[in-house]
C-alpha cells in the first residue's frame, strides 16, 4: 500500500517557484549589466561604425532601442518579457523565443543523453569499488574514471571525429544545414552525446561522491541487519546510497554540462543553444544572449527542483511518505 501526502510536496514546489522568480530576476540583472559593461557594440554586424556617417548610426541605435539609458533598456526588456516577448534577434530579426525553442530541444537531448552516458559509466565504477572485494579492479576503474575526466571535451571531440568519421567512417559527420533537411536523424546524436558524456569532467567527481556515500551507507547498522535477515543489501541501500547521491550530483553538474555543450556544439556543428550562444556572444546580440541565459537558468533550477522533489519522496522525515518497492 502506498500513500503520499501531497500537501507538503505542493508547499515545496511553490517555495521553489517563489525562489525561481527572484533567482531569474537576479540572473537577468547580472547578465544585462555584464553585457553592457563588456566592450563591443552590436552595431558592428550591420555597419562599420568608424566609416559610417553619424546620423545613420544614431538612427540604427534608435531603431534597436540602444540609445536609451541602460536601466531603461533593462526595464523595457523586462516589460516585454513579462508579456511573453523575448524580443527579436539583432542579427536575424526573428523572435528570440521561437529560435530558442528550436535549438533548446537539441541541446536538451544532448545534455540529457550525455548525462545518462556519464551515469552509465560512473555508477558501475562506484558500486564495484565501494564493495572493496576486488581491490585491483576497483583501483584500475577509478584511475580510468579520472583519466576520462581529465580529457578536455574539445580535444576529445576532434580526436573522436578524426577516428570515427575520417579514419573508419563509422558515423556520419553532421553537415551544415542538415538540421532542416531530411538527412538529420538519430545517428548524428551518437558521437556528440558520447563525447560530452565522457568529457564533461564530472565522471570522477560522481564516482568519488557516490563511492563515499555508498561506503558510508553499506557500513550502517541497518545494512548489517538487512544482511542478517537474508535480504538484499542493495535493496536496502538503494535510496540513501545511490538515489540521493546520484540526484545530488546530477543537479550539481547541470551547469557544467551546459558549459560543455557550448564547446561540443561548436566542435560537432551541432545546432543547439550552445552554438547559438557562441554566435550571439560574438555578435553582441543582446536579446538572444539574455534569452539563452534565462533558459539555462531555468534548466539549472528545474534540476534543483527535481532534486528537492526526489529528496522529499525518498526521505520520510522531510516530505512524508512516498514509499515504493
Amino acid at each position: 500500500m502506498k500513500f503520499i501526502l501531497w500537501k507538503p510536496i505542493l508547499k515545496l514546489v511553490l517555495r521553489e517557484f517563489f525562489i525561481a522568480v527572484f533567482l531569474l530576476l537576479g540572473v537577468s540583472i547580472v547578465i544585462f549589466s555584464i553585457l553592457h559593461l563588456a566592450p563591443g557594440d552590436p552595431l558592428h554586424i550591420f555597419i562599420n561604425i568608424q566609416t559610417q556617417n553619424p546620423e545613420d548610426v544614431a538612427l540604427l541605435k534608435r531603431e534597436l532601442g540602444l540609445d536609451r539609458a541602460i536601466p531603461i533598456q533593462y526595464l523595457s526588456w523586462l516589460n516585454k518579457l513579462l508579456h511573453g516577448n523575448f524580443g527579436n534577434s539583432f542579427r536575424t530579426g526573428k523572435p528570440v523565443f521561437g529560435e530558442l525553442i528550436k535549438v533548446g530541444v537539441n541541446t536538451l537531448m544532448l545534455t540529457i543523453g550525455s548525462m545518462i552516458v556519464t551515469l552509465l559509466i560512473a555508477i558501475p565504477i562506484a558500486v564495484i569499488s565501494s564493495l572493496r572485494r576486488h581491490p585491483v579492479l576497483s583501483w584500475g576503474l577509478t584511475l580510468f574514471a579520472y583519466i576520462l575526466s581529465a580529457l578536455p571535451v574539445f580535444y576529445l571531440g576532434y580526436i573522436v571525429i578524426y577516428i570515427f568519421t575520417k579514419k573508419f567512417n563509422l558515423f556520419p559527420f553532421l553537415p551544415s544545414g542538415a538540421v532542416s533537411s531530411s538527412k538529420f536523424n538519430l545517428i548524428y546524436f551518437f558521437l556528440p552525446i558520447m563525447v560530452l558524456g565522457v568529457g564533461n569532467g564530472s565522471i570522477s567527481e560522481i564516482v568519488r561522491h557516490l563511492k563515499m556515500q555508498l561506503e558510508r551507507v553499506l557500513s550502517e547498522d541497518y545494512i548489517k541487519a538487512a544482511k542478517a535477515k537474508g535480504a538484499s543489501i542493495w535493496r536496502h541501500s538503494f535510496k540513501e546510497g545511490i538515489l540521493i547521491p546520484v540526484t545530488t550530483m546530477v543537479a550539481a553538474k547541470i551547469p557544467f554540462i551546459l558549459g560543455g555543450a557550448v564547446v561540443v556544439e561548436q566542435v560537432f556543428n551541432w545546432p543547439g543553444m550552445g552554438r547559438l550562444a557562441w554566435q550571439a556572444a560574438l555578435d553582441r546580440d543582446y536579446p538572444v544572449i539574455m534569452g539563452i541565459t534565462l533558459f539555462a537558468a531555468v534548466f539549472v533550477h528545474v534540476g534543483r527542483l527535481t532534486q528537492t522533489l526526489v529528496f522529499a519522496f525518498v526521505n520520510p522525515q522531510t516530505g512524508e511518505k512516498g514509499e515504493g518497492d
Binding site: 572485494r133 548489517k224 541487519a225 542478517a228 535477515k229 537474508g230 535480504a231 520520510p316 514509499e323 518497492d325
Partner: protein
C-alpha cells in the same frame, strides 16, 4: 537431553591492525554449544569479543583484513552443516614468532562461498536482533514493509497483503498497540523500545530455530530494558525459542539465561548452568564471575549510598600475547600459592562439576 542446534568449536576471529602491525584477537578459541529450547547467555565487559563472536556465526564480519577459523556446526532436521566449511581452502598459513597465523588469501572467494553457505540460513534458521534498534531498522522503509520482506523471503508467501497481515499479527505478539496502523510508520516515528519490538517481530516472523540477541537492551532506557527482557521471556515460553543472548548486563542474564558463558579478553573463562554459576553456595567460581556479580549493587547498598564495586582496571587489549592468565592484573583472588603459576601459564578449561567448566588455577 535435547539435541544441540549450534555447536561452535575453536572459533577465532582476529582483526589485523596496520598501525600496530599485530592481530587483535577479538575472539580467541571460543567453543560453546546451544541445545534446542535453551537460552545461552554470553556475558562479559565491553570489548571482550561477545558481539564479534555472534556476528562471526552469521558471517557478518566482512570488512578489514583478519582471520576467521574454527568450526560452526548448525544442526537442522537431523542434518548438520559447518558454516565455516572449507574455509581453510581459502587461507594460507604463515607463522610468526612460533605463533601460527592463518592469513586469508582469497577473501572475495571465501566471502562468495560464505554467502552461498549462509543462503537460506540468515534470517530463516538463525535470526538476529541488534543493539541500538533505532539504527538497525532501515529509516527509508516502513515497518510493515520491513517485516513483510522477511516473511516473504523466508515463509514462501508471495502475496504482499497476506505478508502484511502476518506482520500485523507479529506486531501484536510483541505488544505493540494498534499494529495495523503501525505497519505504515517509518522507524523515525517510533521510540527506541518500539523499534526493538519491531526488530524482535521481524526476527521471529520467519520462525527461526535460533535467535541471536546481540545486546538487545543496550541503548534503551532502563524501564524499557525491563520490558524488553519481560517480552523476550514471555515469547520464549510461548514459542519455545532457542536464544543466544549476548549482554554485559548481569541482570538480563539472570532473568533469561539457562546456561552462561563468561567471556574475558576473547576467551570463555567460565561455562556452565546458570544455577551452578549464580548459586551463592557454589564453593568455586571464576574470580572474574565473582567480580561481575559483586559489581551489581543490592537495594540495601543503594539505600546506604555505598560506592559501586566496579572491577578495577580495564579489559586487557587483545593484541598482546599473554603467557599467563588474562585476568591476572585485575584478579583479587590470586594468592601466593598460585601467583607465579597464574603469571607464567594460562590455565586450561577444567571441569569442576557436571558441565561446569572454568579457566582458573584455583580450580585445581
Amino acid at each position: 537431553m535435547s539435541e544441540e542446534i549450534l555447536k561452535v568449536e575453536d572459533l577465532r576471529t582476529y582483526f589485523y591492525s596496520y598501525t600496530k602491525e599485530a592481530f587483535i584477537r577479538s575472539v580467541d578459541s571460543v567453543s560453546f554449544s546451544i541445545r534446542k529450547g535453551e537460552v545461552l547467555g554470553i556475558v562479559g565487559e565491553s570489548g571482550c569479543g561477545k558481539s564479534v563472536a555472534a556476528q562471526s556465526i552469521l558471517g557478518l564480519i566482512t570488512d578489514g583484513p583478519g582471520i576467521i577459523s574454527g568450526n560452526i556446526f548448525l544442526t537442522r532436521n537431523d542434518k548438520t552443516v559447518n558454516l565455516l566449511d572449507g574455509l581453510s581452502d581459502y587461507a594460507s598459513i604463515r607463522t610468526k614468532r612460533k605463533a601460527i597465523l592463518e592469513i586469508s588469501k582469497d577473501i572475495s572467494g571465501w566471502l562468495k562461498r560464505s554467502e552461498s553457505l549462509m543462503k537460506g540460513i540468515r534470517g530463516k534458521v538463525i535470526s538476529m536482533i541488534f543493539q541500538n534498534p533505532k539504527s538497525a531498522l532501515n529509516p527509508f522503509i516502513t515497518v510493515g514493509d520491513q517485516i513483510s520482506e522477511s516473511i516473504m523471503l523466508h515463509k514462501g508467501i508471495q502475496a504482499k497483503k497476506e505478508a502484511m497481515a502476518i506482520a500485523s499479527k507479529w506486531l501484536e505478539r510483541v505488544q505493540i498497540d494498534s499494529p495495523s496502523m503501525r505497519l505504515y510508520d517509518y522507524p523515525h516515528g517510533l521510540s527506541g523500545g518500539m523499534c526493538q519490538r519491531v526488530m524482535i517481530a521481524m526476527a521471529l516472523s520467519s520462525e527461526p530455530s535460533l535467535l541471536i540477541a546481540d545486546e538487545p537492551t543496550t541503548g534503551l532506557d532502563v524501564t524499557i530494558q525491563t520490558k524488553i527482557v519481560e517480552l523476550l521471556k514471555k515469547l520464549r515460553e510461548e514459542l519455545a525459542l532457542t536464544i543466544l543472548l549476548i549482554t554485559h548486563d548481569m541482570n538480563v542474564i539472570m532473568q533469561l539465561a539457562d546456561r552462561i558463558a563468561v567471556m574475558y579478553g576473547g576467551r570463555i573463562v567460565e561455562y556452565g548452568l546458570k544455577k551452578e554459576i549464580m548459586d551463592s553456595n557454589s564453593f568455586i567460581r571464576h574470580p572474574y564471575t565473582i567480580a561481575l556479580l559483586n559489581s551489581i549493587p543490592t537495594i540495601g547498598e543503594i539505600k546506604a549510598k555505598e560506592r559501586l564495586r566496579a572491577i578495577k582496571g580495564d579489559v586487557p587489549d587483545t593484541i598482546t600475547l599473554y603467557r599467563g592468565c588474562r585476568f591476572y592484573e585485575r584478579c583479587t583472588l590470586k594468592n601466593d600459592r598460585i601467583k607465579k603459576r597464574c603469571k607464567e601459564a594460562e590455565p586450561e578449561m577444567i571441569e569442576i562439576g557436571t558441565g561446569h567448566y572454568m579457566r582458573c588455577w584455583l580450580a585445581e
